[in-house]
C-alpha cells in the first residue's frame, strides 16, 4: 500500500489542511500526500470525485477519459468550462482541477481504457472508474486485484447512483472512544470526573471482486430473505448496466419515452429471470435515470471521495462493499453482496 512519507508537512500544507487534520490526524494526511489516484471517466460523477480527492491533498491525480465534452455534460461537470465543448473531457478539466489545489499534481490521459495495458492501472494506489461497461470494470478490477491495488467504481444515472468497492485485503485503524473515570479530587462529581479517551484499534476487512457482487445467486436463501425486506436499488443498477451493454450508451434524455419503455421491459425480464416479487422494482425508479443530475452526482461523488480517503489513509472503517442511492426515498445505504 501507500508508503508512509516521513517528510513533515510544510507550513502551507498544515494551514490549508488544518480542518481535516483535526479530523483524521497528521498520519492520515501524510498517507494521503503519498498516494497516486486514477480517475476514469470525467463526466459529472468523475468531476465530483476529482474535486473531493484533489481537495483532500493526495500526491497526484490522473484524469482519464477518451470522450469529448458534450453539452449535456455541463449540467453536472463543473470542471470543464462551457467553451470547451468538443474537446477531450479530461484535458478540458485540467485548468480548473489544478486551481482547486495547486499542491496536487494533476495530469490527463486521453486513451480509451481498452487501449491501455493492465500494467497501466496498477501504477496507481487506487483506481476510481466511472461510466464504463461491466466488462471493462471487471477487467480493471481484476488487474488491480492481482497487484493488490484498491479499486472503486460507480455511476450516476439521472437521480440514481451506486458505488462498489474492492479494497482486497484491507488493514485499517479505527479510533474508539471510551469513558474513563479520572477522579482528581473527592469533591468532583461522577460526571465531571469522567474523561473520554480514544484508543486506536487495528482492524482488517476482506473484499470480493466486482464479478462476485454482480453475479449473486438470488435463489440462495440468504439473498432470498433480503428481498422481503429489501430495497430494489441493486436491481436498478443491474438493469442500467445491461442497458449500457446492449445499446452501448446510457438512457438518452432526448429519447425519454422510448428508452423508458426499454428499461421497463428489461425490468420485467430481470424480474422473471430472478423470480423477483411482482411490483418489487417500481416504475418510478426507472423514470429519473436520464442524464446526470448534479445533486445525485454530488452524493455519489462525495461517498466515493470519502472512500478513497479512507482507503489510502487506512483509517476508519470503509464501506464493504456497495452503496446505493435511492432517489424515490431520497435515501442511501450500504450493503454487502457476493461474499
Amino acid at each position: 500500500m501507500v508508503e508512509n512519507n516521513d517528510i513533515e508537512l510544510s507550513e502551507a500544507e498544515a494551514e490549508q489542511y488544518d480542518r481535516q487534520i483535526r479530523l483524521w490526524g497528521l498520519e492520515s494526511q501524510k498517507r494521503l500526500r503519498a498516494s497516486k489516484v486514477l480517475i476514469i471517466g470525467i463526466a459529472g460523477l468523475g468531476a465530483e470525485i476529482a474535486k473531493n480527492v484533489i481537495l483532500s491533498g493526495v500526491k497526484s491525480v490522473c484524469l482519464l477519459d477518451n470522450e469529448k465534452l458534450k453539452e449535456i455534460d455541463l449540467y453536472s461537470q463543473f470542471l470543464a468550462p462551457p467553451d470547451k465543448i468538443g474537446e477531450n473531457r479530461a484535458e478540458a478539466s485540467l485548468t480548473r482541477a489544478r486551481a482547486l489545489n495547486p499542491m496536487v499534481e494533476i495530469t490527463a490521459e486521453t486513451k480509451s481504457v481498452d487501449d491501455l495495458p493492465d500494467s497501466y492501472f496498477t501504477e496507481y494506489d487506487i483506481v476510481c472508474a466511472t461510466g464504463l461497461k461491466q466488462e471493462q470494470l471487471e477487467r480493471i478490477n481484476n488487474a488491480c486485484r492481482d497487484s493488490n491495488k484498491k479499486f472503486l467504481c460507480g455511476d450516476v444515472w439521472g437521480m440514481y447512483g451506486y458505488m462498489f468497492a474492492d479494497l482486497v485485503d484491507h488493514e485499517y485503524s479505527e479510533e474508539i472512544v471510551q469513558h474513563k473515570a479520572v477522579k482528581r479530587s473527592s469533591d468532583e462529581t461522577e460526571k465531571n470526573a469522567r474523561e473520554t479517551v480514544s484508543i486506536t484499534v487495528k482492524r482488517r476487512a476482506i473484499y470480493v471482486p466486482l464479478q462476485n457482487a454482480l453475479s449473486v445467486d438470488w435463489m440462495k436463501p440468504e439473498y432470498r430473505s433480503r428481498l422481503r425486506r429489501g430495497d430494489p436499488s441493486y436491481f436498478v443498477m443491474k438493469i442500467l448496466l445491461r442497458f449500457k451493454d446492449e445499446y452501448n450508451r446510457n438512457p438518452d434524455p432526448a429519447k425519454r419515452k422510448e428508452d423508458t419503455k426499454i428499461l421497463l421491459r428489461m425490468r420485467d425480464e430481470l424480474v422473471k429471470e430472478l423470480s423477483l416479487p411482482a411490483g418489487f422494482i417500481v416504475d418510478e425508479l426507472l423514470l429519473d435515470v436520464f442524464g446526470t443530475v448534479s445533486g445525485a452526482a454530488a452524493v455519489i461523488g462525495g461517498v466515493i471521495g470519502q472512500e478513497v480517503v479512507k482507503a489510502v489513509s487506512q483509517r476508519e472503517p470503509p464501506h464493504n462493499n456497495m452503496f446505493f442511492f435511492n432517489p424515490v426515498k431520497c435515501v442511501g445505504f450500504v450493503e454487502l453482496y457476493g461474499q
Binding site: Y75, A297, G305
Partner: protein, 610 residues
C-alpha cells in the same frame, strides 16, 4: 441548463425549476456546494447571503474559493465562481448578515425555497422564524466531521428548527474557572477571560482573580488571605486587572508574578479549597521548569509540540508585548477581539492556559489542541459537505415537485442524515410540529423564571435577546397594554436599571413580547423564584431549554461588584458548518465518530451490515 434540456426531468419539474427563486443562506462549506448544484441543475434565480470573508483554512472544502481569494467576500466570490459553471443563471450576492432589517418577511416571501447552510444557532433560529412567518419551506443543513444532516421544515407540517430543545452550550461555574480548575479546558477558558480583561472588552463575568465568595471557601478565606497578603500585589481584589496592568505598563514579568505567583498564593490561603484537592504551586519568573533543557525531539506539526513552562513564559512575554502594542496603536476606548487565527492572541491563550495548568497539576496541551478547544473548531471535510449539499438540492427538487404532484416524497423522507458517508433514514420520517413549541405553535407561550426583586429591565431585554433569540424585542403587559420594553431607542431606557418588581410586574403576570423583524410574538409568563440568580426559560416539556446556565457564583458585595445576572460568558461561536443535532443513529454518542456498526434501513427494518 438541465432544467431546460428536455428529458432529464419530467416536464413539470423542468417548468417548476425554471420558475423558481431560491435563497441560500451561507456561502461556506455547504453553501458553496449547494450553489454549485443549483447552478448546474439550472435553477435560474438564486440569492446568496454571507457576512464572512475567505480564510486559508476554508480552502480544503470551500472549493469555489482559491488562495488568491483569501480576505474577500465569500458571497461575492462564490457567485463569480458559480457563474463560470453556468453564465445563464441570475445570482445576487449579499455580503451581509441575514439578521438585518433589510431581509424582512416580505424579502423571504419572494422565494419558493430557502436553504440554510449556516454555522451558528442564532442565525439558524432567526431564519427558521423568518421562514415560518413568510410561510416558505426551509431546507436546513449541517455537518460535523464525517456526519451531516438535511431536514425539511415546513410550517404546520413538520417540526420547526426550534421545536425540540437543543442542548445548552457547555459552560463552567465561575469558581471552577477562577479558583479550582481541574481540566485543561478550565485553564483555557480562564486564559481567554484573561485576554479580554487585559486587551479585550472588559466583562465583569470574566473575572480572573481569585473568587473569595466561593461557597466552598466560606468564611475564613477573606480574612486570613488579606492579612497575610497585605498590599504586596497591589490589592488583589479591588483594582481591575486592566487598570493594574496598564499601570505596570503591561510588563510581562510583573504580570506573570501577579497572575501566577501572588494570585496563586492568595488561593492557597483559602485553605478550605485544598482540604481534598492537591494545592496549586505558585511560580517564580526566574526559575521555571524546562529552563535548562532543550526542547525534546519532536515529530509532527510544529504546533503539535507541547511547550515547556519556560517556553510558555517566553511566549507569554512576547505575545503580551505584541498585544499591548496593538492595543496602544488603537484609538482610545477601542479594544482587541480574541481570534484563534490571530497569532499573538492564540499564543497568549496557549501560554497562559499551560502555565496555569502546570500550577494546578493539569496536563499541558499543544497549541494545536488548545486552538481546537479555545476556538470551538469542529473539523470539516469536503466530502461530507458535498453529500449533504447534494441531498439538500435533491430535496429542493422534491419540494418543487410537491407543488404539482402531491407525492409520498414529502411524507416518507423528510430527513436524511449521513454518518460516515452512509446516508440513512429515520423510521418515522415525518415529525409533526411540537404543539408546545414557543416558536411555531399557533399561540406561542413560554415561562420565564426569575427573581423579580433582582432582575432588572436590562436583564429582561437580554433574556429576550439571548434566551428567545429576538433581535429587537418589544414587550407590553397583557391585558393592560402598558409598554414595558420598547425597541425604539430611548423610549424605555430610563427604566433599564429598575427591577421588574419596581416597574410593577409580579408573579404570574404575563407579557406579550414581539419582534417586529421576525414577525414573531410570544406570551411570556413571569414566575417568581427567589433562588434564581439570573433567568431561565420554562417550557411545558420537561426537557432542558437552551437557557443559559449561571456561570458566576453570587458574590454579594465581597468583591466590590454585584453579581450580574445573565447568561454565561465562556461561549463562542463555533467555527464550523455545524451546530446541528445528529438526528439519526441511535448511538449514545452523537459525536463526530461514525457509528460502530453500520446500519441500513430497508423499508421498515434496520439491518446490521457488518
Amino acid at each position: 441548463m438541465v432544467a431546460r434540456v428536455a428529458g432529464v426531468f419530467e416536464e413539470k419539474l423542468t417548468e417548476a425549476i425554471a420558475n423558481s427563486k431560491i435563497l441560500v443562506v451561507g456561502a461556506g462549506g455547504i453553501g458553496c456546494e449547494i450553489l454549485k448544484n443549483l447552478v448546474l441543475t439550472g435553477f435560474p434565480n438564486i440569492e446568496i447571503i454571507d457576512l464572512d470573508t475567505i480564510d486559508v483554512s476554508n480552502l480544503n472544502r470551500q472549493f469555489l474559493f482559491h488562495k488568491e481569494h483569501v480576505g474577500k467576500s465569500k458571497a461575492q466570490v462564490a457567485k463569480d465562481s458559480a457563474l463560470s459553471f453556468n453564465p445563464n443563471v441570475n445570482i445576487v450576492a449579499h455580503h451581509d448578515s441575514v439578521i438585518s432589517n433589510d431581509y424582512g418577511v416580505s424579502y423571504f416571501k419572494q422565494f419558493q425555497i430557502v436553504m440554510n447552510a449556516l454555522d451558528n444557532r442564532v442565525a439558524r433560529n432567526h431564519v427558521n422564524r423568518m421562514c415560518l412567518a413568510a410561510n416558505v419551506p426551509l431546507i436546513e443543513t449541517g455537518t460535523a466531521g464525517y456526519a451531516g444532516q438535511v431536514e425539511l421544515i415546513k410550517k404546520g407540517l413538520t417540526q420547526c428548527y426550534e421545536c425540540q430543545p437543543k442542548a445548552p452550550q457547555k459552560t463552567f461555574p465561575g469558581c471552577t474557572i477562577r479558583n479550582t480548575p481541574s481540566e485543561p479546558i478550565h485553564c483555557i477558558v480562564w486564559a481567554k477571560h484573561l485576554f479580554n480583561q487585559l486587551f479585550g472588552e472588559e466583562d465583569p463575568d470574566q473575572d480572573v482573580s481569585p473568587d473569595t465568595a466561593d461557597p466552598e471557601a466560606a468564611g475564613e478565606a477573606g480574612a486570613s488571605a488579606l492579612s497575610s497578603e497585605g498590599n504586596t500585589a497591589g490589592n488583589v481584589e479591588r483594582k481591575s486587572t486592566r487598570a493594574w496592568a496598564a499601570e505596570t505598563n503591561y510588563e510581562p514579568e510583573k504580570l506573570f508574578s501577579k497572575l501566577f505567583g501572588d494570585d496563586i498564593r492568595y488561593l492557597l490561603s483559602m485553605e478550605n479549597l485544598w482540604k481534598k484537592r492537591r494545592p496549586p504551586t505558585p511560580l517564580v519568573w526566574d526559575n521555571l521548569p524546562g529552563k535548562d533543557n532543550p526542547p525534546a525531539q519532536h515529530s509532527g506539526l510544529p504546533d503539535q509540540r507541547v511547550w515547556s513552562v519556560h517556553e510558555c513564559a517566553q511566549v507569554f512575554a512576547a505575545s503580551c508585548d505584541a498585544l499591548q502594542k496593538d492595543l496602544k496603536s488603537r484609538p482610545d476606548g477601542d479594544h482587541l477581539v480574541w481570534d484563534k487565527d490571530e497569532k499573538s492572541a492564540m499564543d497568549f491563550v496557549t501560554a497562559c492556559a499551560n502555565i496555569r495548568a502546570h500550577i494546578f497539576n493539569i496536563p499541558l496541551k499543544s497549541r494545536f489542541e488548545i486552538k481546537s478547544m479555545a476556538g470551538n473548531i469542529i473539523p470539516a471535510i469536503a466530502t461530507a459537505n458535498a453529500i449533504v449539499a447534494g441531498l439538500a438540492v435533491l430535496r429542493a427538487q422534491a419540494v418543487l415537485r410537491e407543488t404539482y404532484r402531491p407525492a409520498p416524497v414529502f411524507t416518507c423522507a423528510l430527513r436524511s442524515t449521513i454518518a460516515d458517508s452512509c446516508l440513512s433514514r429515520r423510521r418515522v420520517t415525518l415529525t409533526p410540529p411540537n404543539p408546545k413549541c414557543y416558536v411555531c405553535a399557533p399561540k406561542p407561550e413560554v415561562g420565564l423564571a426569575c427573581n423579580l426583586k433582582q432582575l432588572t429591565l436590562k436583564d429582561l431585554t437580554s433574556a429576550f435577546k439571548e434566551g428567545l433569540n429576538m433581535q429587537a424585542p418589544d414587550a407590553t403587559v397583557e391585558g393592560k397594554g402598558l409598554v414595558v420594553l420598547s425597541s425604539e431607542p430611548g423610549e424605555t431606557d430610563h427604566n433599564n436599571d429598575k427591577t421588574l418588581e419596581e416597574i410593577g410586574l409580579n408573579d404570574g403576570c404575563a407579557l406579550l413580547v414581539d419582534d417586529f423583524l421576525q414577525n414573531y410574538e410570544v406570551r411570556v409568563r413571569l414566575q417568581q423564584e427567589d433562588e434564581e440568580k439570573s433567568w431561565r426559560l420554562v417550557t411545558d416539556t420537561d426537557a432542558p431549554m437552551p437557557a443559559p446556565k449561571e456561570e458566576e457564583k453570587p458574590a454579594n458585595g465581597s468583591n466590590g461588584s454585584d453579581p450580574k445576572p445573565g447568561p454565561s460568558t465562556s461561549r463562542t461561536r463555533e467555527d464550523s458548518d455545524s451546530d446541528m443535532e445528529i438526528i439519526e443513529e441511535d448511538d449514545d454518542e452523537p459525536a463526530v465518530k461514525p457509528p460502530k456498526r453500520r446500519r441500513t434501513e430497508m423499508s421498515d427494518e434496520i439491518v446490521n451490515l457488518c
